[in-house]
């Protein structure tokens, strides 16, 4: 067996799926397949693995649970979910707990999955030598947080959480329109964006995605009552959203998520290469291409300034 090939793991309780995938990837990778998630975790403890691609619905352990464990055991391993279910809870779990790189739907497209896995492996390999920043590097005074939401109650609830639950003096900015988002980005270096998915009638997910695309250090959280599986999947693949939280604001949850997000932001700042792990996919359906173009134009200006 060619041991110089990168190692990837496929986990699915349907053995025919993993057999098929093994054959598909065996030319370029050292492919290990498991129909039992716990065995996959055992393997991971003993071996260097670049990517784990897991099914969601399995009898002994769900994909989200598995990928959360993968994250603990081997943080450098890229995590992908391959599933036929667009079950909302699983998608939210894969964001908040699994912190996955991509969500791939079954039946998959051969070229797309090859490309996605190649990308994930390439990122894992390039970061193998990059040490994760030590905790002391993550200390800091306050950061700028940006709330994008046209509901004043939500904004004031978040501000209150930041003031009362967090130790550090973060500065909270609040934007109620795309224009004011631009205006704030021009003035301030934003660490964490806490955004709704809609402003009024307008879908602002292109804004969230483009922000991440052109500003990879920014850590985004989505806080919304909107629940749509396909929109969420797009926010993973095209926006690498760090947390997805339900409305109304739950204090402890929001506080913990902001702490995590700030920590992530500082880690990315200390070791900018790490941002690769959260590289986003090309936006597939620019529902509001006018908005996307405006944002892209703005981002270009901002970076050249």
């Amino acid at each position: 067996m060619a041991s110089d090939k990168p190692t990837i793991l496929f986990v699915d309780d349907e053995e025919r799926i993993v057999r098929s995938l093994r054959m598909m990837f065996r030319a370029d990778y050292n492919v290990k397949v498991f129909t039992n998630g716990f065995e996959a975790l055992e393997f991971l403890k003993e071996n260097r693995v670049q990517a784990v691609i897991s099914d969601q619905r399995m009898p002994s352990i769900t994909g989200v649970e598995l990928l959360r464990e993968v994250r603990n055991i081997s943080p450098n391993t890229m995590r992908l979910l391959l599933t036929g279910y667009s079950d909302l809870e699983a998608i939210v779990g894969s964001i908040n707990e699994g912190e996955i790189f991509r969500y791939i739907s079954k039946p998959w497209n051969a070229d797309e999955i090859r490309e996605t896995v190649a990308k994930a492996v390439e990122i894992a390999q390039s970061l193998e030598q990059v040490a994760l920043p030590a905790n002391r590097d993550l200390a800091g005074a306050g950061e700028h947080l940006l709330i994008i939401d046209d509901d004043p109650d939500t904004a004031s609830a978040i501000k209150q959480v930041v003031e009362e639950e967090l130790d550090q003096p973060h500065v909270v900015e609040w934007a109620v329109s795309v224009d004011s988002v631009f205006e704030i980005l021009e003035r301030k270096e934003i660490a964490v964006v806490i955004s709704e998915m809609h402003l009024g009638e307008r879908d602002i997910t292109p804004l969230i995605k483009t922000l991440k695309r052109y500003n990879p250090n920014v850590v985004t959280m989505v806080l919304t009552s909107f629940r749509d599986a396909s929109a969420l999947v797009a926010l993973i693949n095209e926006g690498q959203v760090h947390r997805f939280l339900p409305k109304p604001v739950r204090r402890k949850l929001v506080a913990k998520s902001i702490r995590d997000a700030v920590e992530r932001y500082r880690a990315l700042k200390a070791a900018p290469q790490l941002a690769k792990r959260h590289q986003v996919e090309e936006i597939k359906k620019p529902a509001d291409s006018g908005l996307s173009n405006r944002i892209i134009g703005f981002m270009r200006r901002l970076r050249t300034a």
């Binding site: 025919r16 054959m23 079954k106 039946p107």
Partner: protein, 430 residues
């Protein structure tokens, strides 16, 4: 709504001073032909009525006219006439009239407004008006009934769509998995086929080389190396035993998909008679396959079928729908992470065929159990149920002249028992 003023006949009343003879005079004039009685009004207020019937009776007795003719009407009038306020509803007026009127009908009624005399109303007119009103009501009622039936049909339809949606989602997921690997396998083997072609071309070139009249030994050696490399690569990517299993998997997957499609057809019975002789075991099996996606990873299904179960005449698509509903409910009642168990039994006696579906889910409280077959009653979270599934099941079973019963204990589980008559005459399906 028509009111009493439409019945008002403004007629000049007579005063208490009028003599009986005067009144007789009035009655005999053509203008008063329709009048059964005349109102007697004093100071604007009705004090009585004088009826034609009464006068006739008097005048028919011997010397009646001579004895009474010169008397004032107050002697012969009815001092307690039917008086109705004109602002009253027609129905209440009609009720009052019908309760107080004598037989034969010899008088009409007086209409007043706040006690002031306004005129009289004919009982016959009142009857006519009432009849028209009832007719209008009837039209309204039948329209309301039609609307109600339509909206009920719509509800039944929406429940059907909901369970259909559930079924389609389940089947789609069931087909998705084999579809995933079948598609991938075929794409890969197509690629492999191209590789095989390259290998064949290399062999062809090799054969041409060695069968040449002037063989070039170096070229042949090089070609052998090319072949060797191609061969190694091919074996590495497409090992023979893997290829065989890939083909087996593909055929297996296609078999799975066609089984699902056949089952879908069996379940919906779109191309079969609405009423047929079927075995309940088959119905349950068909529903189990459709519900597979919901039950998988959730509960172990234990079947205790009566192998000799007699067939019954029923509407199989409806019966399948009921079992799918019961199985889905059972699966949803089992909490996540619990070792679920769904026990299905079938048996028969001389009159009925029985099927029971029992789960070890969270159970239903007594108070809720009573309402379980009521339309719109649901214990499920919003979006998980229309609250119509069991009420429709109840209706279907009723039409089949069977029964459906439920028993439940919180924390232990729930059991549904369906019985269907062996000799059934089912009513028209809805």
């Amino acid at each position: 709504m028509s009111d009493l003023s439409s019945l008002l006949v403004r007629t000049e009343p007579i005063s208490p001073d009028h003599l009986v003879n005067d009144v007789a005079e009035i009655f005999s004039s053509n203008d008063y032909e329709r009048f059964l009685c005349l109102p007697v009004v004093d100071g604007g207020r009705p004090v009585g009525t004088v009826s034609r019937h009464k006068l006739t009776n008097i005048f028919m007795t011997r010397f009646g006219r001579d004895l009474y003719g010169k008397n004032s009407v107050t002697k012969v009038m009815n001092p307690k006439p039917l008086v109705i306020d004109i602002k009253q509803a027609m129905e209440r007026a009609a009720l009052h009239v019908s309760r107080n009127i004598g037989s034969p009908i010899t008088e009409d009624f007086i209409l007043t407004d706040d006690g002031e005399y306004r005129g009289i109303g004919f009982v016959l007119d009142l009857l006519g008006a009432m009849e028209r009103q009832i007719e209008r009501r009837n039209v309204e009622l039948s329209k309301a009934l039609r609307n109600l039936k339509e909206s009920q049909a719509q509800l039944v339809q929406s429940e059907k769509m909901a369970s259909l949606g559930q079924m389609v989602a389940g089947v789609a997921h069931e087909i998705n998995t084999p579809l995933g690997y079948v598609k991938n396998n075929i794409e890969m083997t197509r690629e492999g086929f191209r590789e095989t072609g390259n290998l064949l071309h290399a062999y062809d070139a090799f054969i041409r080389m060695i069968s040449s009249e002037t063989p070039d030994e170096d070229a042949i050696t090089r070609q052998m190396q090319v072949i060797e490399e191609l061969r190694q690569e091919y074996d590495e990517v497409f090992p023979e035993e893997d290829l065989i299993s890939i083909y087996d998997d593909t055929l297996y997957g296609i078999e799975q998909i066609s089984e699902m499609v056949i089952n879908l057809k069996n379940f919906s019975r779109l191309d079969q008679a609405a009423v047929a002789n079927v075995n309940l075991n088959d119905c349950i099996n068909s529903s189990l396959l459709i519900a597979k996606n919901v039950l998988k990873h959730k509960a172990e299904v234990i079947k205790q079928y009566d192998a000799q179960l007699p067939t019954i005449a029923c509407s199989p698509s409806q019966i399948n729908q009921i079992f799918l509903n019961l199985l889905t409910n059972a699966a949803q009642a089992i909490e996540d992470g619990k070792a679920g168990r769904i026990q299905i039994r079938t048996w028969a006696d001389s009159e009925f065929v029985y099927a029971s579906v029992q789960d070890n889910g969270k159970g239903i409280e007594k108070a809720k159990l009573k309402k379980i077959f009521d339309p719109f009653f649901t214990t499920k979270p919003v979006g998980q149920g229309t609250g119509l599934g069991l009420s429709i099941a109840f209706k279907i079973i009723q039409q089949h002249k069977g029964t459906i019963r439920v028993g439940s204990e919180v924390g232990v589980g729930t059991r549904f028992l369906v019985s269907l008559p062996r000799k059934s005459r089912i009513q028209a399906a809805f």
